[in-house]
Symmetry: C2
Subunit: 244 residues, 2 copies
Amino acid sequence: MQQSILKNMACASCPIKHRAVCSRCDADELALLESIKTYKSFSANDQILWRGEELHYVASVVEGVATLGKSLEDGRTQMVGLLLPSDFIGHPGRTHIEFDVVAASDVTLCCFEREPFRKLINDVPHLAQRMVEIALDELDAARDWMVLLGRKTAGEKIATFIEMVTRRQHLDRADGQQTDLVLPLLRSEIANYLGLTLETVSRQLTILKSESVLEFVDKRHFRILDMARLHDATGDDADGGILA
Amino acid sequence: MQQSILKNMACASCPIKHRAVCSRCDADELALLESIKTYKSFSANDQILWRGEELHYVASVVEGVATLGKSLEDGRTQMVGLLLPSDFIGHPGRTHIEFDVVAASDVTLCCFEREPFRKLINDVPHLAQRMVEIALDELDAARDWMVLLGRKTAGEKIATFIEMVTRRQHLDRADGQQTDLVLPLLRSEIANYLGLTLETVSRQLTILKSESVLEFVDKRHFRILDMARLHDATGDDADGGILA
DNA sequence: CGTGGTATTGATCCCGATCAATCAGGGTGG
DNA sequence: CCACCCTGATTGATCGGGATCAATACCACG
């Protein structure tokens, strides 16, 4: 794991301060958090945490994309979460991590020592409140993904994934400007996320291209040509995704 | 929905007081909770909440089994949670529920008015702490289930389900006494939980019987004959389930 | 150029879905 | 008591979507 520790950035200039676990905290509370925080950065494909490893830190993703996965005895793997900026990693009350965490791109984390962080949750209501929200939001997202994994066809899975990527990238840029969208994952990683094989992912993307729902400028960059037909292909009902 | 409101039971004699959302609260804090709590009971097959419905209450399951599910436009459904005594229902910060909640047996809920409960989370650290734990535990469980839905074979899914039912029923009886175990769900509901059809569930159970891994005394009651072979059939590695 | 990692496309296979028939148990009413 | 039906479970026959195995294309490196 090639990990480097950065000089601490001030919370005031943090790019995720509005959505991260600390977003409700006032200046005094932030000061408490700053005393137990460290930035760590990882290169693409670094393993950030191994399943079963002792957990000294919990963290927020500041920049980059990481994946949360689990594997069966014989090597089959399933991704169970895609960690984007402001997402939270770890379980303050657990001494060991249950999942593998891997950097899908270069990643910067804001890490808090686990044990002091656990105590802060008890003492700082603003932290506990936000933590509850984050955990419950993640839980709803995980449950939506269970519907996808258990019941959707390959075509619906891909359409749902593309729609999700599109939505999250639109949220990020406040100006709503239309630029090319980027797939944050390789075909094999998308397959892993969707419970498919990479061949099936490739075939389904080809179908969406041939139906002029989207087009690729290269392997990783694409544009949506027909948002309505994309949504129809997800299998969700009209307002299902928007409420989520 | 045939729902009846019971006279309030005292928290002191509550069967789930050690694991429910209130388990960390002291007497004063319980008094606050009691002022916003009501018991409601439902008969088997009652719909407790409809997806999209306005959410006036959050609740703990006191007795019985409920299911949490979601369905796609064309009627396919996927169960995304099995709610057993002490499990929590609802999202204090959301005005609407995302899922269908159905009573799988006769069910008693301990309901808290949502808005006052949300405020209590901010004021009562013991409540927020426990809420964080419950949400994160549920999240881990949901992620384990994603592995099952995405990657396990039908045989592994059934074995995992049986193992889970067995474990949870052993936890309940502290004496560890060996009596017949009971399937909390119909074949069709098991199928819905596992992302299978009821025919496949039936066939896989027949296989486990023919291999003398378990035996049925009637359609709902069974005994494990070979716990080790059952676990081997789950596809999990040796200690995966025990840590969880 | 060649080489290694990634993606596409093709051919075939198999697990689980689907369609369908039968069975088992348990009320209910004659 | 039996005939009837109703719901849930089992078992059988067939089908098809996606996995698997395999070949080829692409492209950024040296």
